[in-house]
Symmetry: C2
Subunit: 435 residues, 2 copies
Amino acid sequence: MSSQKVNVGLLGLGTVGGGVAQLLLQEKQRLSDYLGAELVLAKAVDLRPELAAEAGLAPDLFSSDASEILADPEIDIVVEMIGGLDPARGFILEAISQGKQVATANKALLASHGAEVFEAARRQKVGVAFEASVGGGIPLVRSLRDSLAANQINSCLGILNGTCNFILSRMTAQGEPFAQVLAQAQAKGYAEADPYMDVEGYDTAHKLAIVAALVTGSQPKLEDIPTEGISQITPLDIQLAGEFGFRVKLLAILNNAGNGAVEARVHPALVAEDHLLASVQGPFNALHIDGDWVGQVLLHGRGAGREPTASAMVGDVLDLARDVITGCPGRVPPLGTARQGGGVLELAPLANAMCRYYFRFTAQDRPGVLARISRVLGDNDISIQAVIQKGRRDIGPVPIVMLTHRAQEAAVKRALNEIDSLEMIAEPTMLIRVA
Amino acid sequence: MSSQKVNVGLLGLGTVGGGVAQLLLQEKQRLSDYLGAELVLAKAVDLRPELAAEAGLAPDLFSSDASEILADPEIDIVVEMIGGLDPARGFILEAISQGKQVATANKALLASHGAEVFEAARRQKVGVAFEASVGGGIPLVRSLRDSLAANQINSCLGILNGTCNFILSRMTAQGEPFAQVLAQAQAKGYAEADPYMDVEGYDTAHKLAIVAALVTGSQPKLEDIPTEGISQITPLDIQLAGEFGFRVKLLAILNNAGNGAVEARVHPALVAEDHLLASVQGPFNALHIDGDWVGQVLLHGRGAGREPTASAMVGDVLDLARDVITGCPGRVPPLGTARQGGGVLELAPLANAMCRYYFRFTAQDRPGVLARISRVLGDNDISIQAVIQKGRRDIGPVPIVMLTHRAQEAAVKRALNEIDSLEMIAEPTMLIRVA
């Protein structure tokens, strides 16, 4: 082995940070053999000293002071596993300004301040790697950044939140309502005590912002990404979608038509049963990529958790360590393209989006209802592909379910406003877009 | 844009080589913007001058003399798209000795002479990239080499030959026999006029040899990889496997137990219907990877063809071009690990393999047959999990189909030899391993 050493400093010893420490310590020999240089966990920092022992760290490797990593000229690579905006942002910018390579899984930070971080890295000629920020252990960042770089990426469809996919998979298998399955997911550790960011789609939107930046070279504003979660999805909708041959998934959708109109949105969507994304079960994640030369590629695996995330983080550390060893730090711009820094990515408004729709109307069971609904849709250029009208009940309103041909979001919203104001409509209409 | 230039020389203008030329010419601006340097197709060589015009090459970019690339000090990267062992091997070694980076899709060459090529590249400190040699456009080489480098890879299961997968998918959907579907595949261009290398599993074995080298850092001998193709598979077996809940796929199997016992083999295998590999349809390829930290990852896409292969080749060219620009050629050893060159990978003998088995016996329809077969199996420590005995026919032998628990290949072969020599057995028994 070469006598060369690469020193890693680790910020944050939580669940995943502890996993990174464990992997670096336990597999030091294998990783160093692979690299051809000694890969050393030189220091780990956390405010909770009890985590040091849990991670198997010798006392002299632990500190509660981040400057022991950031100001140490011997540290080559900083692994940021604190999460959240502050102090992670300041630590990362300080590491970059000290000429250190950075690996981070911090999707919230990159989604909101990625342009700032990447520009700082470009100026300082250091590498910033973030494979673990989207899709956990799935090698999707490097695939988009490097392997598929010859392509214009036309679209990405992602299942990027394991909590939502677990809940929807259970709701589909068991027919149980959202709240009940969410409670089960919390009990199993598949959902946080505060599930808001996950189930309302914001975690997925963070990841989509990063995917959009990788595909286009520019960052969208997070607040420009239309985002809907899964808390409104009912077992009835899942069952009815199944009757049309679809499953319900929470999708991150990127459409890159190439004429400058980029669509990015997060919402529940109907996925055809024979599409590979329909088979993504439980806590798994997947990204379906369509490129102009490569065609369709699917990348599938565990999207979260201590071990898969540590796998991705240490993969990034090895890659950055090679740059250190061979003397070419910053060899790859963070987003792959040298064109990075093209300002904010403008997204096409949701009102312009075109897709197929699933509607579930809840109507009084009387003659003429279907005719009335159909007329409003027709007046708005929305044509119906299929209808399921459920047998009448003894009392009360009945569901009328429709699948449309491609229609425009603005027209759909207009039509549903009009329909929902009809006296014969008992509840607001459920809308789910078709992927 | 930087004024830097990276010059590419292309050897071979066949179907895929022509695609590489087209992509480099047509998307020159986009690729150069991405790279931050001018990416130039400087020269293309083929013995068939008519292909130059087809590929849209200006006359001065074409030559029939490979030395115009190999001896030109201005050429930074050589793309080898000739295929086969000679003269490709000599050209690649000459390019390396001239200090040029090399990208190749030549699986036959890498499977048999990879160690020689990689050792030459290591000595000369140049990069050799071969993403397109396995799985076409699927980013699986770089995923194994870089993204998943922190893992010990426990196993890989691959569907790596689109011709076989197309044929098996059709046989499954239509119930038609192998020979008939092969003829259809040839008519559609999914199978070669001479399909031997594909349908008998040798193309898959080449690719498995490369996967095994990426996972272990050492090359197996091609002739050590037990290889069976799909020409013996019948629609009856596909149907009966379906009754047990399985599909039939041609698999490349790598088991890396970590105690030094590495298994690599290619054969038809029963895949559980709910396994993601069972959903890989038609000409698609997929690699299912199990790593000790990342868990299970599936990479899926088009495994062959002009466009997907060109996508992978030009992705490699961009990666090598970065090494040229940043002055770190040979930054990554060809197999990722610095430990490369560990001699020949010894494979565990097939006789030691343990798996479940599907047997289809063809027996005279008389009392005691099942008892007799079961006794031989029991005597060889093979226990039966399920049996389907088809209703008796008016005349002639009947199929008896069994699924076993895990058993050892050597014991299975011994038992089947004994059973097939019984007078009540009408035909050699069909054996398919369970993945």
